[in-house]
Symmetry: C2
Subunit: 259 residues, 2 copies
């Protein structure tokens, strides 16, 4: 199948899951991908942009790796992209296969996205999770596919270096229990973060669970979590942005690598 | 002028600045506006949505306040909005006149947006500034207009309760000096946040300056700031989202009202 047809096809989650492939769009994302351990299966370039000084090095690097490069018309390129102003380059690449580790570090931190829907929020959270040295971002059923184009863009390359692991709740609950994770739910009614820092930042494994933007945390999440925590704020606004609140909590529980 | 024509006109910054008016779009934003001290000059409703159970109470509340309500065709309504899937209601309202306070509290905290461009980031930062009880968000020339529709949407009502103050650097620098603000620049090369908490969270006034996404902080910012601070992170990713990094710093310097 031509790369163009494949790129169009991969806009659908079913196609991504069937082929274990995803699309990274734009100069910066494709550059980050080429610098990561993931080897693309192909690069698609829009003909008018093929001489662009930012795109030429990408094409050169791809060819050096033996990655096929397909140049198509601007119109065909636009038909494969999801952005309003495409930058003229995209890569098709295999989704990294990530599984729950058998031997998480004794002070491992993970974030669990429990039916979080907004792709921009999910990408921003993955970026923060990578920045703060978390061992993984785990997604439960109902969370947006992390290989959705908008998540990939918002994550700004973080998905290429940080494990994003889809997992069913029964398997996840058993893994959390087996490895004695202290499980916390981020909740507007939870205990104030500043009063929980000893528990959250001490030794031992910590999992932070972030629920759906509207419905909050699931019954499965509440079944595994012994604690809740909230970011303290004034009553002037109703809430913080989900990615902002989560990032503040991830910063608090960050790994020693981010200190 | 009809409300429809006015709403269309207010998509331009020049029109907003000339008329001291802005547009808030959507059920939630209009609801937050009606609950704030700001009284709209008019409400525009899309005819097919005029019976919507979420919009009817907005219309009733507007009429009770003596605010004119104009019902227009779906097509006309769409011509006045900036969103792809408009919710059928928008409000036109006066921009609150905010000026640098003559007597900031002895422990006042402010955030200064120094040519920050992305409207979504600016709105999210204003929302966090309100949540953490900052005295004001100050914008210098080159920062996106905070009454831009996308900033208003991202701020989720925070702009209606939190002062956003545009200010030239010379006036701002004099004000910061006169009131002995300790000025910090958020900078990826700055001192680690965890080692600066005593200074950042102690008594006295604190200003946090956030620079342009690409170019960083301006010469004017560097002239007033004695310190720089960064959010510690791993080297796995290049950077954090600007709104996330800023929110983590605002959380650290939050007012006693948010503790």
């Amino acid at each position: 199948m031509r790369l163009l047809t494949k790129a169009r096809d991969l806009r659908r989650r079913k196609a991504r899951e069937r082929d274990h492939l995803f699309v990274a769009e734009g100069v910066r994302a494709v550059g980050a991908l080429m610098a990561s351990p993931i080897v693309p299966v192909g690069i698609l370039v829009s003909e008018p942009d093929a001489g662009d000084t930012r795109i030429v090095p990408v094409i050169t690097a791809a060819r050096a790796l033996g990655v096929p490069v397909e140049v198509v018309s601007a119109r065909d390129f636009a038909s494969a992209t999801e952005t309003e102003s495409p930058q003229g380059v995209l890569a098709i690449a295999p989704t990294p296969r990530a599984a729950l580790p058998d031997d998480p570090a004794s002070n491992a931190r993970v974030v669990i996205l429990d039916a979080v829907q907004d792709p921009g929020n999910v990408g921003t959270i993955v970026r923060a999770a990578a920045a703060f040295g978390l061992a993984a971002t785990i997604t439960t059923p109902g969370t947006v596919d992390v290989w959705n184009g908008k998540v990939v863009r918002s994550a700004m390359g973080a998905l290429f270096v940080h494990p994003a692991i889809p997992c069913a709740w029964d398997v996840l609950a058993a893994w959390l229990t087996r490895h004695t994770f202290a499980c916390w739910i981020a909740d507007a009614e939870g205990a104030p973060l500043s009063q929980q820092l000893d528990l959250l930042t001490g030794p031992g494994r910590v999992a932070l669970i972030v629920g759906n933007e509207g419905a909050g945390s699931s019954a499965e999440a509440r079944a595994v979590a012994a604690h809740t925590v909230r970011v303290e704020m004034t009553s002037d606004v109703e809430s913080l942005n989900v990615a902002v609140a989560t990032s503040i909590l991830l910063h608090a529980i960050r790994s020693t690598r981010a200190q």
